[in-house]
Amino acid sequence: MNDRFISFEGIARRYPAPGGAQTTIFEDLWLGVPKGEFVCVIGHSGCGKTTLLNILAGLDAPNGGVVLVDGKEISGPSLDRAVIFQGHALLPWRTVLGNVAYAVSSRHPKKSKAEVEEHAKRFIKLVGLEGSEHKRPAELSGGMKQRVGIARALSIEPKILLMDEPFSALDALTRGTLQEEVRRICRETGQTVFMITHDVDEAIYLADRIVLMTNGPGAMVAETVVNPLPVDRERTDLHKNPAYYPLRNHLIDFLVTRSRTFRDAVPADRDPRRPPAVTIPVPQPAESLRTVA
């Protein structure tokens, strides 16, 4: 059960196309995510990543197939699945505290105002925004807004955290700091995370497993790549690990060519229900280096 904590089972999503036809974003898509795993989905723009995430969030309904979470079919959004939106989506008329407290009071309607605020403050502190509780979103920088979004999502203590390119609008420095914080928090709490990104390095640093989606329409999950890097990795030291470049090359190679050509050479024995889990072999020279040292 736990190795399919999230389970996409044969889902399809189609949109009406001009002239009465239909565009199939994807079809018969299967994917399982074990509990406590951090999964990143990468794929080209427009292949259907947001659609996939929105279906898991319950904000969008598939035209076919089901999504199971913890063994139960989902039907609409739930407090068990928190979403960190790409455009932060804070309520601009509420303060930082007000935004987080809104989520907390939705999760715990019976809590008193003081309890809600104290709970909210705990999560504001967690993302390092102490002292800005009474600011409004308009007074915050882009990175701070995204932190509030993270605090809001974490404050409801969801079973699954969903993130749609949460850092793509931030500058490199802020992005790096937030990636480190998100990784720390998610590791401490054993959070199951389903994240979409465009950034290969972000996926390599954060993910336990990386899902590769081919180009749309009719996108497929080509494979899932197991991240061979040690769990206690440092963001700035990634490139020193011998497994880093092979993994990175594999992902870039997928984005550059295989995402486009995959459909023309689908292996005959491919079972859409079980996209292959790939492990990238680590080159051996590292071995000799270690013996020398």
């Binding site: 319950g58 739930s78 699945r81 979403v83 601009p92 008329w93 989520a103 939705s106």
Partner: protein, 280 residues
Amino acid sequence: MRLSIGARASVLSAVILVVFLLAWHIAVRGTTTGGPAMDPEYAKLMGLTATQGKSAMPGPLDVGAKLIEHARRPFYDNGPNDKGIGIQLGWSILRVAAGYGLAVLLAIPLGFLIGMSPMVSRALDPFIQILKPVSPLAWMPLALYTIKDSGASAIFVIFICSVWPMLVNTAFGVASVRKEWLNVARTLEVGPWRRAFTVILPAAAPTILTGMRISIGIAWLVIVAAEMLVGGTGIGYFVWNEWNNLSITNVITAILVIGLVGMLLDQMLARAARAVTFPE
């Protein structure tokens, strides 16, 4: 030394006022300044001014004196045709408040419904499109015939003229609440009532308030005309009555007072609009 823009603007305003008052004073100089011209022989006087090229217009000093007189005794009541300007204004404000209040009660919930349901929006659209451009005064005979009460008819006319901007703006504001804010509420499993009050209402409030501000302006424009028609009480009736009395001084005084009250009403709504506006 250079004054700030604000200070220079004030100086310019004062200069314009003084020039205007002087020009007015000079233009009407030579007119008999014997207070309100209730003289039954006024017609003769008219002939005289016509032949001698003199003006029957009161000057700024007459109007000023009249204003002071009204300010001293705003609430006197000497029978149906002679009441203080304060009482008349009170009646008008009361009618506007009643008609406008009823319009708020209808337009905001209905606007919510229209904004949230594209089906209701389409169903009601033809009615709104046809009824909205009708001059509120065109409803007056129908109101008088069905309600059979002139005061209530005036209130109805205020209601019908204030309802449209609020309805249209509320519907627009509610329909254009950002999808991502609604999605936040959905992912937090916020119920429909809580969502209406904690997401849609605050998000649409600036647009709704804009509609309310347009409405109060129109209501205050229309009340004068409505009261001229139905008569009895109110500032509109006062203006018409003073015209019949040929007291141009009182008419000008009333114009000033109407403008002043209209400005205050607008400022109130503007302040409320500022209070609900959020920076993005």
